[in-house]
Structure formats: structure tokens, C-alpha cells
Symmetry: C2
Subunit: 356 residues, 2 copies
């Protein structure tokens, strides 16, 4: 909705994109004024103007049927995520409903300069928050139990996330599922992390905020150890760092995303990191190398097994990782824009590992 | 999803609630460990265990079909918001898809004690943020242009929202669409507000945050004037304050929500505030009196024109308002739980109007 017309209200609305004949938006009466001001559409309707019967005046499915009739629309293409209730109401009114193959606006994967600037705003928030988290980790000392301590209190994942949230807020960004995962938690790439942070163990910091005014997302991950890392964690870090740098350098228009993913897998194996199961738990590299970023945090194109050719204007994460419950996890992630000749890291951020 | 099984990931999942035969959840491989820990279900599946063909291993529609086959499910009832792509895939596999009349879990409107405690946590955040905003407005002085000034800078809607966001963060809450609307902006109940706040004009503060750990929402509105209000704004305030207090006192199990809404309209008319259009813009009281609050910010039951009887355990807002572009807007809102004998304001907050 935000991509198609720049309007994204709390409650449901109906948008009809009739191509050259323009876009029609139906909104609840209370949103009418704001929609007139903000929505990039040919016409804003409220249900009364569409003569929606009063008993279904609050039902978006009835708005969709009334709008289709008013605009003499006899067939509509919708996304696979379109609500079945509205689809069935359209079909009962003899309007054909087809599902788009893939994305409804496939051109959305290629970002405009303005969109890349918005993603960069989110990424500036993410990098500012990462720097704040790294500062807090550097400033922490270590108690006898090996836990990090900050201003007299144990530094937990929860407290470090609160440092991150504050830094994001300063940049008009907000994140919901920030990862600050230490030790064995870091070996599960989706573990959000909780409890005391400990010296000598890998700490994965994965921050993916949404820039609130524009709605665009950013994404960054760094992995650090307070004090000295184990020899195995150091080996994992070196392999991930090299693979991530290689992938950033390999990205350019025309290159196959799945080829990049396969090559990272190959390099990890060559470095001695096989992807397999041990005691029923996966170890090695068992997620994608990257995903598109825009008005959604996960959107096309992905850098994984799907056959995709990268194009200028794609904005993707590059985030290989290695995981092993016995040694923790290491993931390094930047968000890059594919340019005419390569890839540009949207907002650079250092890659520290062992923190003093 | 969160209501049905307590699990709410970033990416799509499939949930089958087979009633007494238990709940089945299909999640992407990366979420498997977390789902095992957190989801209240009988069984967690990953697509591989369901033998989803590898070419559709990442397609939730294929997971749904595989799960239906594995559990010998031949018909499913879904919500009206269910994705049409998944519904059509099920139908192609000869699984009947029916749409629920109304909500999929209608019992969700009646909250448990634990749920009410979660909503109260969100509401504590909302009230703390409201108090912080009121403190900032009281502390502000007024410059010669009539604008509010705080620490040498003009106090804008944007700056006051940032004060609100910080107070919310301290309570593990976050809000996206906070309203701080002054003067003519306050006359449009959905205007988010922007620019300098001015003395002598109504300022509507509407804060509806989500408590991040639990996912539950809270909602509060106060309307204030810095300095002296106009006689008309004072009349509007007195009418809204009396109507809101009356409605809170009128709520009890068995009472008709639409009756409460109609009575507020009647009281406003009696006080001289007719709801009508002037120059094409609505004036008076032209939104609902309240809505349910829970894991969504707007959910059943509503206190408006729909015929609904309130029940113990309902949690609703009570938020009458009066609007007039020539005089601004006044809305007062609390979130209340319907008890055995009446309504309990979840978190009390004063009702100041003219601020020194």
C-alpha cells in the first residue's frame, strides 16, 4: 500500500490501480482528509460517496465491490497475500480475481535514488545504534564470574538492547526484534538473546530498524567478543569476515545471486566449516547469504538458492555466518546497493572483533 | 497467531488448530528452535519434516497443503483476512476453505486476567508518556508569537512526540502513530500533528503504544490548552469531560454499547453540539465512542453503531470527542476493563485542561 500510493493507515483501506486510468483509494471517513493530503492517487473515496449500503458501510469488502462497480472493473489481479474475504465478495459480485505470479509490483525490487536514500536513513540509525552498543561493550568491565558489568550492574542482552533502542530513537528509527545473543544463544541465528553477557564468548548484534517517517528498513550485524576469543571463534570470525568481504566485492549487475551463495558455502567448506547436523542441531552455514531490503525487512531479491540475477538498484544484505553450539556464532552483515559497476555499502561501519 | 499459539515471528508461518486434536505449527527451519521453546502447540513442524518438495520448500502455501495432508484435514475455517494464495493452494488440493463469520476466535474479545495485566502494562507506558508530555507542556514558556518554547527552542509536535517515545521506551513500549495535534489540526481526529505548538489552542495528545514483550496495546487521550482556553473550547471540554465520565459510569455487563454511543450523541446535542457538515467538513462528534483493545489496537467490541452487548472481561476505550475547525478539537480517552459490576479504568491519569 505504501509503495503503490504512499499512504499507510492503521485501519484497512482499498486501493484499485487501473494502470493508465489511474489509482482509486477508498478510506474510512476519518482518514479522508489525510488521504487527500498524502495519497498519490487519482481519486480518494469514502464509503458514503461510493453509496455503500449503510449496513456494510464499515466493511472493506463492500467498499471493494462498490469501487469495482463504480469504475466498471470486471477483473482484478491481487497479491497472494490478498484477504480471502474481500476476494470472495468480489467473486460473488462477478468480478474475476487473479493472483499475480510473484510480486504485485515486481519493479519494487529495483529501488529509486529516493528509496535508496530512505533505506540509508534507516541504516544510519542501525549503524549509530551499533556504535552505541560497541561503546557500551568497550566501556564494560568483567566481574569474577566472567560477566560484563556496566555502572555497577551486570550488562544483559536486555540492557544493551535498551541502549540500542535509544540510539535508534534519536534517528527516528525503531526496531522490534533486535538480537543481542551471547555464547550458545549466538549459535541459533534467530535467538533474540537474554540474560548476562559474558567475556570470552561471541556476541552477535543484529539490528534491523524501520525508519519511522519513510517506512524503509535497514539491517546490520556485527559479532564481537569482550576480551579474548577462543582459537575456534577466531577461526570462525576470520572465515566469515573473508567470505563477507568477498561477497561484497563479487556483487555487480548481472551476477547470479545463487552463485554467490554457493561460492560462500564452498569457501566455508574449504576453510574446514562443513554444514551438517550434530546431535540433531544444525552447525555451519545454514541460512541465506542475503535478502532484499525496502518497505519490508525481507523482500526480493534473495541471495540464496533461488535463481536470481542481481540488477543495479537492488538493495540487499550480505550476511554469511557460521554457527556451532560448542563455540557460539559469528555473523557479519552489511546492507549494500547494487550500482552500475559493483556494490556500495550504504553506511560504512567498522568490523571490530575482540574488544578491549 | 500470537493469540492462538503465543508465537509471532517476522516471516510467515502456518498454524492448524484442530480443536481437541491439538495445534500444529509449521515454521521456517531457522525458527524451529525458538518455536519449540515458545509456541503453545502440540507439534512444531519444519517444511522438511513435512516432506514439502524442495522446489516449494520456502512457500507457506505448500506447507499448508502438506500439513493438511499429513493431518488428514479435509476442510479448514479461516479468517476473512487469510491470504488468498494459501486458500487457493488448499482448494487445488481439494481441501475445503470456509471463512469464519466474524472473528476466528470470537472469545478473544473477553480477556483473561493475564491479558488484562498485559494491557495494563501497555497502559502504564501510555500514562507515563502522557505525564511526561504534560510536564513538558507545563514547563514550556510562551514567546511573543504565542508559540511554546522549551529550553530556548520552539516546542513542536515532533519534539513532544520524541519526549513521549522516550518515556514509552522506559516501559518497554513503542508507539507509531502518536497524535500531538494543535489548533485546527486538532479538529481532524486522525491528524498526527506537526509544527509549533501554540498557547491558547486545544492540543490533543493521543498515545497508543504496544507493550513490546507481550504484544498488547494501550490507548489514552487527553486534551489541554497552554494558558487560557477560549470560551468555546472550554464549553467543548466541559461537554466531553462530562460525557466521558458518564460513559465510564454507564459501562457494565449486559449494557448495549450502541446505546451508550447514542446517549453520548444525545447529550452533546442537548449541550448545543450538533454533528453536521459545515463547508464540506464534519463538525461535532463523528467517530465511535470506543473500541476493543488487545493484541490489536482496534478489535471487537466497538462502542458505536453496531449492536453489541458489553461483557465482563471486555477491554474497551471510552473516547468521545468534539471537533470544530474554528475552535479546535477535544477528546478524552481512557482504557477500561468491564468488571462484574461496572468498569475499571486500567491506569488512572488526571484530566487537566488549562495548563499554567
Amino acid at each position: 500500500m505504501r509503495y503503490a500510493c504512499g499512504f499507510s493507515p492503521v485501519d484497512p483501506v482499498v486501493l484499485l490501480d487501473a494502470g493508465r486510468k489511474g489509482k482509486h483509494l477508498v478510506v474510512p471517513p476519518l482518514e479522508y482528509g489525510r488521504a487527500l493530503d498524502e495519497a498519490r492517487v487519482s481519486k480518494v473515496w469514502d464509503p458514503e460517496a461510493l453509496r455503500v449500503p449503510s449496513e456494510s458501510r464499515r466493511d472493506p469488502a463492500a467498499w471493494a465491490v462498490a469501487l469495482a462497480r463504480r469504475t466498471r472493473t470486471c477483473a482484478a489481479t491481487v497479491s497472494a497475500a490478498f484477504p480471502i474475504g474481500v476476494a470472495r465478495a468480489l467473486e460473488r459480485a462477478r468480478i474475476r480475481v487473479d493472483i499475480a505470479e510473484g510480486a504485485l509490483y515486481p519493479e519494487r525490487a529495483v529501488k529509486s535514488e529516493h528509496e535508496i536514500a530512505c533505506i540509508a536513513l534507516a541504516q544510519q540509525g542501525a549503524v549509530a545504534a551499533m556504535r552505541a552498543a560497541l561503546r557500551a561493550l568497550r566501556a564494560a568491565r568483567v566481574n569474577r564470574a566472567g560477566e560484563l558489568v556496566d555502572r555497577g550492574r551486570v550488562l544483559t542482552s536486555e540492557r544493551l538492547k535498551s541502549v540500542i533502542d535509544r540510539a535508534l530513537l534519536d534517528r527516528q528509527c525503531a526496531a522490534r526484534e533486535t538480537i543481542v545473543a551471547c555464547g550458545a544463544q549466538a549459535a541459533d541465528p534467530h535467538h533474540r538473546g537474554e540474560g548476562p553477557l559474558r567475556a570470552g564468548e561471541t556476541i552477535v548484534l543484529d539490528i534491523f530498524p524501520q525508519h519511522q517517517p519513510s517506512g524503509y528498513w535497514g539491517d546490520i550485524t556485527r559479532t564481537v567478543v569482550k576480551g579474548r576469543a577462543s582459537p575456534m571463534a577466531r577461526r570462525m570470525y576470520r572465515a566469515v569476515r573473508a567470505a563477507q568481504a568477498w561477497a561484497r566485492a563479487a556483487i555487480r549487475p548481472g551476477v547470479r545471486a545463487d552463485g554467490i551463495h554457493a561460492e560462500i558455502k564452498r569457501r566455508f567448506e574449504e576453510a574446514g566449516f562443513k554444514t551438517e547436523h550434530r546431535d540433531g542441531r544444525p552447525i555451519g552455514f545454514f541460512h541465506g547469504t542475503g535478502h532484499g531490503v525496502g518497505l519490508e525487512i525481507h523482500e526480493p531479491p534473495s541471495i540464496a538458492v533461488a535463481k536470481v540475477r542481481l540488477r543495479a538498484g537492488h538493495v540487499v544484505t550480505v550476511e554469511p555466518g557460521l554457527y556451532d553450539p560448542a563455540h557460539g556464532g559469528v555473523r557479519i552483515e552489511d546492507t549494500v546497493a547494487v550500482t552500475a559497476s559493483g556494490a556500495r555499502v550504504l553506511v560504512p561501519c567498522p568490523y571490530p572483533f575482540e574488544l578491549p
